[in-house]
Amino acid sequence: MSTVTHDPITLEIIQNSLQATADEMFAAMRKTAMSSIIYEVLDMGTGITDGKGQLASSGAGIPGFIGVLDKSVKVLLEKFAKPGGIEPGDVFITNDPYYGGVTHLNDLVVAMPVFVDGKIIAWTANIAHNSDVGGKSPGSLSADATEIFQEGLRLPAIKMISKGEAIPGIFDIITVNSRMPDFLEGDLWAAIASVRIGAKRLVELAEKYTVVTFQAAMDSFMDHGEKIALAELAKLPHGTFELTEEQDDGRFFNVKVTISANEFVIDLRDNPDQDAGPSNACYDDTLVSMQVIFKALTDPTSPANEGSFRPLKVLTREGSCFHAKEPAAVGFYYEIGIRGYDLVWRCLAPHMPEKLPAGHFSSIAGTFIGGIHPDTGRQYTIIEPQIGGWGASAGRDGNSAIFSGVHGETYNCPAEISEARNGLVVDRMELNVEPGGEGKWTGGHGIRLDYRIRKDNSFLTLGYTRSRILPWSLDGGNEGSANYALVMRKDGSSERYAFASGIRVDTDDVIRVITGAGGGIGNPRERDPKLVAEDIRNGFITPERAREVYGFSA
């Protein structure tokens, strides 16, 4: 029943099917992955691009991965441009941000061209955080890395499967470089299965509706994305907005945002040189972080594709922490990414209060705990982002205990599963009621999570920001509270950390993860006393502090 007319209903049906395919790829990968960071945390994304590598549709668990895959495919197209370079059945892999990998070496991008009648009509691709890709530290992330070489095996956009057959040796190289080869191999096959399933669906779709109509549907979908973005841009206040903000480490970050009817320009050029350590992002990743906040401002509910981001321009300075040069280490790229994202958010919030709540705990708060499972004797590694408090919205208190703005459909790990899988004890997992975030509308609460270690010679690595410079408030509300971790030793001593790697922990040491409250909005004295009374009743604030902050007396 094929037709060459591009009637709008047919295009719409193809677009729905693209979304369904991206979702199917996501579900397939999630269910077969071996690492909890993939199947539970959903630190992964799937996507479909057109033949030129432009993002057509995505089924992502986290917004921070939505704009990654198109950039990888574009690098592959360029690198393998010569005839015979890309053939039906091929599958490619990259993880190196200097070769289309965008993020850091742990994230493996797997991509597959989709052929119909000998021509590439699309690509299916996915990205996922793998537990260990080698490098100097377990889990591959190291707070004291100074070069990317120390962060694991580099896969600089290479072919892994040729015409359906695995290229001898490639899998061996990849797995032998990992401390957790079984996990890596299982996760890699999950990724391959996912791109293959997606490719099969797209071939069916293009054969059914013809390639011409299929491509027209992709094009019109992207044009539609652009139309939505422009329409929303017209509603935003136009002008130039600037903010400079101090960071936990004493550096200052700056942003200038210029909004006009057809452009949204983010200028990050006036920022510090790239870091000697791993707190750097490559340009592609900075662009992705900016796409996330841009999309939040320009119709967050419609699907994101290449067109959605056409009005966005991001300016950076090569050699700065937002545009690192090879061979800078990039392991903790995501804390730079979220700092840039939050910087734009904070810069614009006073000018568009209906669109932007007050600041949230605003850190991935990546926490890595590993060692030998005391019951099974096998190596385990916890790799998890944390949940925390969000800022108040105008007219509503902020959410408690949800993932940061660059994570999304991400799930925390149940204590019952964590104890079985990781061989430690979760002593508590509760809301953090430390002071902070009070206001007419309050910020939500972060968490307090205690891991008690059951085996000597285990390790903790972490990278939290917003540990000294707190989540920001609006209109006279109070700032939120800090993200940090305590290592509470068996002997009663205790150490506080925010950014460190390879801290040794032993039996009955407790790692206490604390995430902050979001910022408040409005003068606390204007908070409805009924709400304050509820806060006291629920144990979120003591009566003494309620009197002090809210002027409340029962």
């Binding site: 029943m1 709008p8 209903i9 719409e12 049906i13 729905n16 099917s17 369904a20 199917e24 579900a27 397939a28 269910k31 992955a33 071996m34 539970e40 917004p63 079984d182 191999e185 299982g186 096959w189 391959i192 299965a193 399933i197 669906r201 539609h224 939505i228 329409a231 996330v292 999309k295 939040a296 967050p300 509910t301 994101a304 709540p357 949940i387 919205s393 959410n399 408690s400 205990a401 949800i402 994570h407 999304g408 459909e409 991400t410 925390n412 149940p414 204590a415 019952e416 599963i417 104890e419 079985a420 004890v425 979760v426 002593d427 997992m429 509760e430 809301l431 629920n538 144990g539 979120f540």
Partner: protein, 690 residues
């Protein structure tokens, strides 16, 4: 023994309470079917049931078997009409209910609102005591604080208490002791502990499930008690069974304790009906589709078996995390696309259908009750797929000018005619439903070409052929009485319970005994429960499923296990896991396989309806033909279709498409090139190619 058996199914819906009665004559085996409808009567829903029995002329004294389905539980949840619940948890975990899983499905939206917990923090209390994941006690239970907790709950007006402790799936003794402690101190309070509902891990899901069950328990219990008393007062002394979300029925007493298991009982009966129907017509692989007024639901039946899972959530969609309920529910996908779904154009000129529905009031524009929105039903009318002179079985005069106006309003925004709008609505609605059907089939590794599409509900037959063609199914079957098919399914249900137990074991020699022991123990528990309720032990049958995964994975694949589990049979089980896994995910691994839990299905027949097949004659379909008219088939153009009276169709009749079959409850659209056969049960088999 009387000369006939009377079976009744009643179904309390949001708007109407339905009745279907099968009166089976033992001598002839023939059943006389009566249906009736009356208003649902909140908050005294049992009154509606008694009313509909009276309206249908059914004397409760004569009824042998009464199956009852109700939306009381799901309504209490979604309308927040349950009771005030107090929650008792393990020390350090009172906030689990509020923390939930931390996910933000609507991830670009910075104003996302996390679903609020059903129990506020001040009613969530902790007690010391702890197990590890093996179920071994690390810290003894300390109930010394319980009296103070209960006093506080009393003072705050708590009406039900939920208890959920860490690792209670592995060892429920602390929960049991706590419930006993509560009963001692406060005998009349409603209680539920998480292990009574589920023995699976994940503390947030289990806690929320216990809370939601407690939340609806007093309401549901009162309702079921009053229903039972009301029926008894009218002389009913037959068997009353309550429809469950796992496609089975359960006894009244059992459901009163854990009413949350009724949460999806409505759709479950229809899907069960489809599986049972498959047995009569020799189709074991079925895609079942139920299209109602506001939603369409679908489910896949493989080898005659419905799939039951415990991964069920309410109010969960792309914009909200929703709430998990860890009870056995038939695996279904539901989308906001039904006959009443409203067509609308967004600000960028794109046409959408649903999920908003015109409901029963004002309903589609054609109802003439003031509705101005074009719905799927309006589009079907406009294209003459539905007979405008026989709308709703002739009970409503179609207001075609209202329909035209509504379609034109959409057309103006798109710059096209009413005809084009109507075709667009039908195509988009079909596409939405096809994608839902793919989710339960293709996305799980099943090829629709191996399946028969069974469509029911008021709107199923209207769209089924188009969907069947798109999916490439073997054929489409429209059951006799498609519009009351769910009630029929209820009468075909067995007494059934699904037991899910988390149990970790590696598939290595020597582990078989422990796995076998877990199954045997659970089977013994099931038998005891059945016999306590008076069921005949010898009639109970079991199906054993193992939930397996490759070591280190999380999600499991369920595999049916035949026979006793011995070290010798482990290899066979493993092979069967590899095969199932590869079908679903395209590859297999050379990695160790482990068991994560068991799923035991226990069922016993409780006098289900036997269907009588009538002989196929060779009657001419011309006897049922009533007219011909031009029908717009959207993609396939306009054709003159033969119109048949569904009530006059006889077994053995065969006729080709294009055709439309009209009966009072539904309209069946048969496309050009199709061939229809009526079987001995009155079901229509539509072969897509003649």
């Amino acid at each position: 023994m009387s000369a006939k058996t009377i079976r009744v199914a009643t179904d309390v819906g949001g708007t109407f309470t339905d009745l279907v009665c099968f009166e089976t004559d033992h001598a002839t085996g023939q059943s006389r079917i009566t249906t009736a409808k009356s208003d649902t009567t909140p908050p005294n829903f049992e009154q509606g049931v008694l009313n509909v029995l009276e309206k249908g002329g059914v004397d409760p004294k004569t009824v042998d078997f009464l199956a009852h389905g109700t939306t009381v539980v799901i309504n209490a949840l979604t309308e927040r009409k349950g009771v005030k619940v107090g929650l008792i948890t393990t020390e350090g975990f009172r906030d689990t209910l509020e923390i939930a899983r931390g996910n933000r499905p609507d991830f670009f939206n910075l104003h996302y609102e996390k679903p609020a917990p059903f129990v506020p923090r001040y009613l969530r209390r902790e007690v010391p005591g702890r197990f590890n994941y093996h179920g071994e006690e690390m810290k003894p239970l300390d109930l010394s604080g319980l009296p103070e907790i209960l006093d506080a709950f009393r003072a705050d007006g708590v009406e039900a208490i939920a208890v959920c402790f860490l690792h209670s799936y592995a060892n429920p003794s602390h929960e049991q002791a706590t419930i006993a402690g509560i009963k001692r101190l406060w005998p009349e309070i409603a209680t539920v502990a998480s292990h009574q509902i589920t023995r699976e891990w994940r503390e947030y899901e289990r806690t929320n499930t216990a809370v939601m069950s407690a939340y609806v328990q007093p309401t549901a219990e009162r309702y079921l008690t009053r229903l039972n008393e009301g029926l008894a007062a009218k002389g009913f002394d037959g068997n009353l069974f309550i429809m469950q979300s796992n496609c089975g029925v359960d006894s009244l007493d059992s459901v009163k304790k854990i009413p949350i298991t009724m949460v999806e009982s409505g759709p479950a009966s229809g899907f069960w009906g489809a599986a049972e129907l498959g047995k009569f017509i020799g189709e074991k692989n079925i895609l079942a589709l139920d299209i109602g007024g506001t939603t369409a639901k679908c489910s896949l039946i493989e080898d005659g078996k419905v799939k039951i899972m415990t991964d069920y959530w309410i109010e969960r969609d792309r914009t909200s995390a929703g709430y998990p309920i860890m009870v056995p529910v038939v695996d279904l996908v539901e989308i906001g696309n039904g006959g009443g779904s409203i067509a609308w154009v967004d600000e960028f000129g794109k046409l959408h259908v649903g999920p908003k529905s015109a409901g029963a009031m004002p309903g589609p524009a054609a109802y003439g009750r003031g509705g101005t929105s074009a719905t799927t039903t309006d589009a079907n009318l406009w294209l003459s797929r539905i007979n405008r002179d026989y709308f709703c079985g002739g009970s409503v005069t179609a207001d075609m000018s209202a329909t035209e106006k509504a379609l034109n309003a959409v057309g103006e925004k798109l710059g096209v005619s009413a005809d084009e709008v109507a075709r667009g609505i039908v195509r988009i609605a079909n596409n939405n439903m096809v994608n839902a059907l793919k989710l339960v089939s293709l996305n799980r590794g099943f090829d629709p070409r191996d399946f028969t599409l069974v469509a029911f509900g008021g709107g199923g037959a209207m769209h089924a052929v188009a969907l069947g063609v798109e999916l490439g199914v073997k054929k489409v079957v429209i059951p006799a009485g498609a519009s009351v098919f769910s009630a029929w399914g209820m009468m075909m249900s067995d007494l059934r319970r699904d037991y899910f137990v988390t149990k970790l074991a590696e598939l290595t020699p020597g582990s078989a005994a422990a796995i076998e022991a877990q199954f045997s123990e659970t089977e013994a528990q099931a038998l005891q429960q059945f016999s306590e309720e008076g069921a005949d032990k010898t009639k109970v049958t079991f199906l054993r499923y193992g939930k397996f995964r490759y070591q280190n994975q999380e999600h499991t694949t369920e595999v049916l296990i035949e026979g006793e589990i011995t070290d010798a049979s482990l290899a066979r089980i493993e092979t069967s896991f590899h095969e199932t896994y590869e079908r679903e995910y395209t590859y297999r691994l050379d990695a160790p396989v482990e068991l994560v839990g068991i799923h035991l299905v226990a069922s016993a027949e409780v006098g289900k309806l036997k269907m009588q097949e009538r002989p196929l004659g060779a009657p001419s379909a011309a006897a049922a033909r009533k007219a011909a008219r031009l029908v717009d088939y959207a993609l396939e153009g306009i054709h003159e279709a033969e119109i048949y009276d569904g009530e006059k169709l006889q077994p053995g009749m065969i006729f080709p498409g294009p055709a439309v079959i009209e009966d009072p409850g539904t309209t069946i659209v048969v496309h050009p090139g199709n061939r229809v056969e009526v079987d001995g049960f009155g079901n229509l088999h539509i072969h897509l190619k003649a």
